[in-house]
Subunit: 275 residues, 2 copies
């Protein structure tokens, strides 16, 4: 699914995938930056805890956001497709200045939210300027094509990644989380090589990509974002590879980005932090 | 140390770094290919087992090479700097058509062989056409700049790699072994970013780079060689990084190569296996 169309005179909100394990108490720079974008003391944050099977996940984030002095933070305990049609939840979303999708299992997000009114609402609200952040599974669900699973390790392989349709808030990236912590370069390389149309983003824990409406991504946090740009890919053996074969990929571009660095998803130009 | 000069009318031998754990009995394609280069049934292989502290390492390779039907395979148990001056060992080297350096600890190779007559002989013989293969530590020791140690993981860091001077058989590469098996991308990225003059090669186990005298590298084996080419590196934060900082590296080229693919160390062009 492609991002929802933007109406005349409106601007899309930020898309903010976070690599998981973002700092929530001491120096929570990612959540603080998200709250600032959403209006600080006027921010109205709606939390979607659906990926998590722990009942306390949503309420915990309510407390975290209230401690950041937002106007309001409310979690919607959507645990079924019926929940994802509730009028009161949709009304709460309509008041949001920011939506936060928690971690857990991204297949819970896609199976419970996919095609529901809540999913439609998130897409529409983002196209109208509401910012959407998600951590771990909540980041995974954002793109058109969601990485649902795959191999651990540094090398791509023929069965290195499994996809599922995502929320479609953004279509120009494939992204993975807990990137260095879970040694996921191989599955990101597999993902970009299946169809080299998109940039691959490998987001470390406690690190976020703040993707502005104009497609400019800024790194915020303590870790790295690994960008794999296959736009000049000259050769891939992925189509002919059999199980266990080593994969040939010639002509990838690789950028290791850290806090303050930027990458434009449209021009594919990476730039260091301005000094 | 740069590679020894080539005399008029002579051609350097191949340099063959192997990523460790090469298959030695069933389908030993790397060792077989090395033996073919060295003259097959006329091959005279001299084994340098210095990296290993196991007395059986050298004799075991004698058996492995004899099973490949070479004319002669002899191991020189060089365990001290005095051993590395022995006339009988130097005489044995003079008869070699191929030299094989075993695995173990590359700092044993550099500390025991560095500056000795055996080291000089290996360099001279290679410049005269004798092929030199080395596995694991025996591969590490080959370049001018040897990776002696470093961090595990996918990300570069300010203290991500330690160097020591190597044998200097080749100066255009930095190389690492057991590459995907030991998750060493970060230390290879650290290495190439310290001084981006050389291509970085990450060689997997049971995989070799057959580097011809003209600088054309061919991949032989079951795994991958990851090539990191920093020749277009636009920005590196390595010089300013403090301990623990994430590192910014913008503009690396990345190739994943497999059996039969080539990479020219002079032109830095990667090519897929000819079909």
């Amino acid at each position: 699914m492609c991002p929802a169309k933007i109406a005349d005179g409106q601007q899309r909100g930020f898309i903010i995938p976070i690599g998981g394990a973002e700092e929530r108490v001491d120096d929570p720079i990612i959540l603080q930056r998200f709250v600032e974008l959403c209006g600080d003391e006027n921010a109205n944050i709606v939390i979607i805890p659906t990926a998590s099977q722990l009942a306390e996940t949503g309420p915990n984030y309510e407390i975290i956001f209230r401690n950041l002095n937002v106007k309001n933070a409310i979690s919607l305990p959507i645990n079924s497709r019926e929940d994802a049609e509730r009028e009161d939840y949709l009304a709460a979303l309509e008041n949001a200045t920011g939506i936060f999708i928690t971690g857990g299992n991204q297949l819970r997000l896609s199976t419970i939210l996919g095609g529901t009114s809540v999913a439609q609402s998130i897409r529409k609200l983002n196209s109208e300027g509401v910012h959407v952040a998600g951590t771990s599974a909540g980041a995974a669900i954002m793109p058109e094509h969601m990485i649902a699973g795959g191999s651990t390790g540094a090398l791509p392989n023929e069965q290195g990644v499994t996809f599922a349709p995502g929320l479609g808030l953004i279509s120009k990236v494939l992204l993975d989380q807990h990137f260095s912590q879970r040694n996921r370069l191989g599955r990101l390389l597999s993902a970009v090589s299946y169809n080299p149309f998109a940039s691959g983003l490998g987001i470390c824990e406690n690190t976020a990509a703040f993707i502005a409406p104009d497609g400019l991504l800024e790194v915020v946090g303590h870790g790295s974002i690994t960008v794999v740009d296959p736009s000049d890919l000259q050769h891939s053996s992925m189509a002919e590879a059999r199980t266990g074969d080593s994969i040939t990929l010639i002509g990838l571009k690789l950028h290791m980005l850290s806090n303050g660095d930027t990458y434009c998803l449209n021009t594919r130009v990476a730039s260091p932090k301005a000094v």
